[in-house]
């Protein structure tokens, strides 16, 4: 799929750290690591009935990025657009304790948090590249 665009639908949770990390990693992939290849889909808008987001997810492969195993992003994609091409669950990457820890203000983000973002972003990139290689 050399020219395919890939949607990344990220958890938007702000009750726990996992949500914050998920959205930061997704944006990093879109803005820095796979520019032009990845389109971020806004989960709150998607769930609220955003037609553009839902139609995109029906037509193009979607990777869901969930903070925890509640898998809100994956479940929403399955419900409204039918298929999830691949998934990233951050609790499986970084451990449950990390993602379920208390949310962090943008003012309090540290290098440790940014390193976590890098790990997640790298994992998303792997999934993106695998889809492109199909």
């Amino acid at each position: 799929m050399p020219n395919v665009q890939i949607g990344v639908l990220s958890c938007s949770g702000e009750e726990m750290l996992g949500g914050t990390l998920a959205r930061m990693a997704t944006r990093k992939v879109m803005e820095k690591l796979r520019i032009g290849r990845v389109v971020s889909l806004c989960l709150p808008l998607y769930i609220a009935g955003g037609e553009e987001e839902r139609n995109f997810a029906k037509e193009f492969p979607v990777i869901s990025v969930d903070g925890c195993d509640k898998s809100c992003a994956k479940i929403a994609t399955l419900k409204y657009s039918g298929e999830v091409k691949d998934t990233v669950i951050i609790s499986e990457l970084l451990g449950k304790d990390v993602v379920l820890s208390k949310m962090v203000s943008a003012r309090d983000l540290t290098d440790v948090h940014y390193k976590m973002v890098d790990i997640i972003a790298e994992e998303i990139c792997k999934k993106v590249d695998a889809i492109v290689a199909e």
């Binding site: 959205r23 944006r27 709150p44 037609e51 943008a106």
Partner: protein, 285 residues
């Protein structure tokens, strides 16, 4: 004494305004006894938040004109005690919140300013209505690019100029507005400066302007004539242009002075649709 709220932020990901709404929610929960309602999880597990919603006044924070959080509150029949729109607040305060995530220093400062204001003060707002030309039921042709959808009405009577402004002509009167290309390119429209009623304009002269965080768009009139009405709803709700620029988001109505001549420099649907597609392919990001 600090107030406490049940805070429903949009938490949008597409624009950093959504992230600022999330940041505000975190700050409010730190600085008061406010509780955060996750807009996504609320839909999945409504009961989890019922006690919070019952106990505390609801503060809804939208990032942009799409107003996902407000729509969610309305869908669930929630009583909104206070409302805030980050993009509008940033514009009013002259703060450039940028586009990237993590949010920039200005975005963090804006979040703090608004949080302080919420915890220490209050303020109100209102709106009006208007109508004139009867529009038909519109039939659209669509063109998609990535996740963006561009519609153009193909009904007879619609004409377009190369500046992406449409006009719908009925006899010697017409209604005009901008096309989907304009509203998608501008993104969230925050301000509308209408033309003056009674003003005479020539074809390709300015008939007001609209403004988003990205740019100001001068509405280039496709026709000449006298402005007889403006869509006053846009003064309070310019986001109607984003919602549908051909229907509720129309700009003004005009009494035509020489449509026969003006028409020579306009496209009908057949002529404009390829122009829009080319522009989308070449310019739209």
């Amino acid at each position: 004494m600090n107030k406490a709220y049940a805070v429903l932020p949009c938490n949008g990901l597409d624009k950093c305004a959504g992230c600022i709404s999330g940041e505000m929610a975190i700050q409010l929960s730190k600085q008061s006894k406010s509780e955060i309602i996750c807009p996504v999880f609320y839909r999945v597990a409504e009961a989890k938040y019922s006690s919070v919603i019952e106990a505390l006044p609801l503060l809804v924070i939208d990032g942009c004109g799409t107003r996902c959080a407000s729509k969610l509150a309305s869908e669930k029949g929630l009583k909104i005690a206070e409302k805030m729109n980050i993009t509008e607040e940033a514009k009013t305060l002259g703060i450039d919140i940028g586009l990237s995530i993590p949010i920039n220093e200005a975005g963090k400062a804006l979040a703090m300013t608004l949080v302080n204001r919420i915890l220490t003060a209050d303020k109100p707002s209102e709106s009006t209505l208007d109508d004139f030309i009867q529009m038909p039921s519109l039939i659209y042709q669509e063109y998609k690019k990535d996740k963006f959808l561009f519609r153009v009405p193909e009904n007879k009577g619609f004409y377009f100029n190369e500046n992406d402004v449409w006009v719908y002509v009925v006899g010697n009167k017409a209604r005009l507005g901008v096309t989907d290309f304009v509203q998608q390119s501008l993104s969230d429209i925050m301000f509308f400066t209408p033309p003056s009623v009674g003003m005479e304009i020539e074809q390709f002269e300015e008939a007001g302007n609209i403004e988003s965080g990205k740019a100001i768009f001068e509405i280039v009139s496709p026709v000449s004539g006298t402005i007889i009405k403006v869509n006053e709803r846009l003064l309070d709700a310019p986001e109607l242009i984003n919602q549908n620029p051909y229907e509720q988001g129309w700009i003004a109505e005009i009494e035509l002075s020489d449509f026969e001549e003006d028409q020579d420099l306009l496209h009908d649907f057949e002529g404009y649709f390829p122009v829009l597609k080319r522009k989308v392919d070449e310019f739209h990001v």
